[in-house]
Subunit: 299 residues, 2 copies
């Protein structure tokens, strides 16, 4: 049995996962937005509860943002209260369990590897959500870089002197290829176009989400097609960059935006000319939790 | 003893390298521009000559462009006659020696690793020349990717829908960060500026090379400073992208443009905000030959 935690901006999911990657018991609690130690105390309480019911060897924690897996720190992220927090040290001392921590997108990539993608030991997963995250699996292990910060795919530069990114750089991939960016592109289009999607959505701009363009392309809306065209070109730039640098066996796309798999792949195929296969993740929202539970095997 | 070949567009350098990475004997011949087999025959003749004088176990060949190390093919490059050429098969059959082939920038990175950079086993080398090449050293080995095409740093995209690249994509790094690009930026500046460099070079534009801006910055020319500023920003975009993806222990810059190390690093430092150290290669033009000679140890 393995105990994994998947820390998010809103809630912390946790669960017991067995050797066959089945989630035996799963629960969650709200993420305390004000105190990193409060979140860790909540995690320790969950460990106490689980150890009364199951036998597990260690704890694996996935968290958004910059995580130094080697030193066991969550350095920080926009939506959680961690700031250079010594997570491993704190949880180990309080629970007595060996503890591992890794970036959540890294955990999801590892989850996809152990459960989903069994045909290759070398792939890069791009997780498209509020931002863009990622994980690199090389020779069946998570590649974490010098201090655990590898796989920050959202911060590769695809547009020289482009949009400012909170990271301090300009033109970062996540400013163009995240679900947030797709929503922005959709809203920009709706404001200035008279197409079918724009006409219908002009008075309810705030209800536009990552599914809007997909829904309207199915209705034949040209303005929606133009948005997905533009977005796909941005998305492909990052895929091409990763392939030029690493030539993995596959690129795996994950995140809510990949739910409309056929349509997304159709638009990617229009612009992607590389030879590395691009696939959609098999595991959905539990990839991060499953990967976190087993992350100690990889680090 | 090790026998290495470094195939270039103009000449093929080759040499015997000892266990301490000293070049014992070195020579070169012109690259036959018209026939890939003619180049291979010239290589085989050099092997015959060297085997009469030295004892070596295998042959290592570095070549520009796309090289499939795993299958032993040189797929092709702009300045050599190779086109899906089965180099390893041909040379092994003709000489009887086990033969390895790898991309020349990959060989240079491996040469830098074994001889130059002894303090880390994980770095990315960016070789700046006519184009931009590179090599990734992970855990002391050349990382070659799925079919040996990893490390094509010149083709990561840094400018969405930017300049067309012969590879078929737009906005590739080498269109902005190669020595060729620096020369282009310099010429563009000279044509439209009235600064010191521009005034003096306007009538001899064809004599502008990669050193021109460096020479004029030392003379205090503002127009030259502006060119290197612009170039350094491009260069940094690629460095940042590599660091976001891989977080190596170091980025190593190589190529003629790094000869004016202090000035180049001063300009890079103005824009580079990452934590991964950026260094200049210790080995100069022999890195490719030394790396090729030993490449069998890495592949």
């Amino acid at each position: 049995m393995y105990l994994g935690f998947d820390i998010g901006g809103t809630s912390v999911k946790y669960g017991i996962v067995d050797e066959n990657f089945n989630i035996i018991e799963k629960s969650s609690f709200a993420t305390n937005q004000h105190s990193d130690i409060a979140v860790l105390d909540d995690i320790c309480n969950a460990v106490e509860y689980m150890k009364g019911k199951y036998s597990f060897d260690y704890i694996g924690i996935g968290a958004p943002g910059f995580v130094d897996s080697k030193k066991g720190y969550i350095e920080g992220s926009a939506n959680t209260p961690f700031k250079h927090t010594a997570v491993v040290d704190y949880v180990e001392k309080k629970t007595g369990f060996k503890t591992y921590v890794a970036n959540d997108a890294n955990c999801a990539a590892y989850g996809e590897y152990i459960y989903g993608q069994t045909d290759t030991e070398n792939f890069v997963m791009i997780t498209i959500g509020t931002g863009v995250g990622g994980g690199i699996i090389l020779n069946g292990k998570l590649f974490t870089g010098s201090t655990g910060l590898a796989g920050e795919i959202g911060h590769i530069v695809i547009r020289h002197e482009g949009l400012a990114c909170p990271c301090g750089k300009r033109g970062c991939y996540e400013q163009y290829a995240s679900a947030t960016a797709l929503v922005r592109l959709t809203k920009e289009k709706v404001k200035k176009s008279d197409g079918l999607m724009s006409s219908e959505m002009k008075n309810k701009i705030d209800s536009i989400d990552g599914r809007t363009v997909f829904d309207y392309i199915r209705k034949g809306a040209t303005d929606a097609k133009e948005v997905l065209d533009k977005y796909a070109k941005y998305l492909v730039d990052g895929i091409e960059s990763i392939c030029s640098l690493l030539q993995p066996d596959a690129i795996i796309l994950a995140g809510g935006i990949t739910n409309d798999k056929e349509l997304l792949m159709e638009y990617i195929s229009k612009y992607y000319k590389g030879s590395t296969p691009v696939k959609i993740a098999k595991l959905k929202s539990d990839a991060g939790l499953i990967g976190a539970a087993f992350i100690g095997k990889s680090l």
